[in-house]
Amino acid sequence: MTLLELTEVTAFYGPVQVLEGVSLSVPEGGAVGILGANGAGKTTTLRAISGTVRAGGKIVFDGTDIRGMRPDKVAALGIAHVPEGRGTLAGLTVRENLKVGAYLRKDRKGIDADIEYCLDLFPNLRERIKSHGSALSGGEQQMLAVARAVMAKPRLMLLDEASLGLAPSTAKNVYQAIGRLRKESGIAMLVVEQNANLAFTLVDTATVLETGRNALTGTSAELKGMDEIRRAYLGG
């Protein structure tokens, strides 16, 4: 069953049109990648979904048209956006960040259990539980951003460049944990990633964007095999 469906989505920053018509769909529990060069519109596609950029076209989540909805309303429907540049709340401790993630939930026991789950998923965070977000390393901040999204118990997670600025081994660790999260929680994921090889460890299908449009869509296996695509879009 389709959880999220984008049809010919356009988006603007002021007068500048960034998305010319992006379509994609994420099935329930599935993981879909958005690949492409810098400026292709990957991040903007996620922002259109979470309501942080003015968008046109159709964005339907679980039967509801969410285009133009406020970010907190979108979050309340079950979409957790992990923004680029890590989005940790710098002045709050790790535990406080996790509690903010659970803002819309009322089940105290479930929240405590999920904090425990996040600390199990990212053991580095357990050691830093009382540290402020700003005192964490880049990798730890990324882990915290993902963990905060987990705390919302979302049905869909929007992951933006989780590997950005991380050492290769750290990036791999983060993706491994996210892979485990996907398997154990069944959260559907829409993953923006410059590093295509990392993305392919997580997603089943992917779409390649070029100047705000879909250039190509296929399964991970299909895309991996296309040499010219690799050279043109995936940087290697």
Binding site: S50, T52, R70, P71, D72, A75, A76, A80, H81, V82, P83, G87, T88, L89, A90, G91, L92, E96, K99, V100, G101, A102, Y103, L104, H132, S134, A135, L136, S137, G138, Q141, R148, A149, M151, A152
Partner: protein, 293 residues
């Protein structure tokens, strides 16, 4: 010894007034990331509201509570319809807007209620008690206790409640907070409303001793900002202790340091600020912001 204790206690009482305003500034800063220079002006406006309610025959305590309530709404409205336009832009612009707001409110108060000094009754009886040879007014004790109570409530709000956590999260990064479902706009309104309500308490506490004028809070605002810098923007307890320190030290300096005297005592908080900014830029009790890239 009697003089010394007298000076300390008077200083604590004056410091409590600065503390009330400083707490309101900290509250807005924790909830929005801004310094609101109009906080003093809003407190004066609240005192005028209370004054007007008194004229209508409302009992004092009820008049003050009503002015707190009206201020809460007014603070929220100012956030929604004025500050909202500037929150996404340059923070410096927003701060300048608050300075403009201060001028506007002062002018409005003068226009509506005149620039003459108005008598404002005190919540506490005028009697004095004798403590260790010092004559202490019950008003001073009452003021100080109210401030301690508010300080503890604020500390509890920020560190012990979901609302406080949400307010802080929104101040740090509104967009990122909204991704966790926090209604950013509503929380900012609540933050401004709470600060304005707190300012109204400060106004009601200070008006009896200074008499009510549109510029009543101007010098208190200077001291409050000094307390905020000294104590650290992130610490309610810190700013209250800093405000008391300022109140006490300026009193002591006026009497015991001959070249300062009463004329120069306003320089005392600034000398303190210089020293603290050099030695501990985050304030005595503030947390250092560490930014890693």
């Amino acid at each position: 010894m009697g003089t010394f204790i007298q000076l300390v206690i008077d200083g604590l009482s004056a410091g409590s007034i600065y503390a009330a305003l400083a707490l309101a500034i900290v509250l807005v800063n924790q909830a929005t990331g801004l310094i609101n220079f109009a906080q003093g002006g809003m407190a004066v406006l609240a005192a005028y509201f209370a004054y007007t309610f008194l004229q209508w025959g409302v009992p004092l305590i009820l008049a003050i509570l009503l002015s707190v309530l009206v201020s809460f709404v007014l603070g929220a409205v100012i956030e929604r319809f004025l500050m909202r336009r500037f929150e996404r832009g340059d923070p410096d612009t927003a701060v300048v807007v608050t300075i403009g707001l201060l001028t506007l409110i002062t002018g409005l108060c003068g226009w509506i209620w005149s620039f003459n000094n108005l008598q404002f009754p005190s919540l506490f009886p005028v009697q004095t008690v004798n403590i260790l040879g010092a004559v202490v007014s019950i008003r001073s004790i009452g003021t100080t206790l109210v401030i301690v109570g508010i300080m503890l409530l604020l500390q509890l709000l920020f560190l012990g409640t979901k609302l406080g956590l949400a307010l802080r999260a929104v101040a740090v990064n509104p967009q990122s907070a909204s991704f966790s479902g926090l209604p950013v706009g509503r929380l900012l309104m609540v933050g401004w409303g709470l600060a304005a309500g707190l300012g109204a308490v400060a106004g009601a506490l200070i008006a009896p001793s200074l008499t009510l004028t549109p510029g009543m809070m101007d010098s208190a605002l200077v001291y409050a900002l000094a307390a905020v810098i000294l104590g650290g923007l992130s610490s309610p307890i810190g700013v209250v202790i800093a405000a008391w320190m300022i109140g006490v030290l300026e009193n002591l300096a006026a009497v015991y340091v001959p070249f300062i005297g009463y004329d120069l005592k306003i320089a005392v908080p600034f000398i303190l600020i210089f020293i603290v900014l050099i030695v501990r830029p985050q304030g005595l009790f503030g947390r250092k912001e560490v930014v890693r890239v």
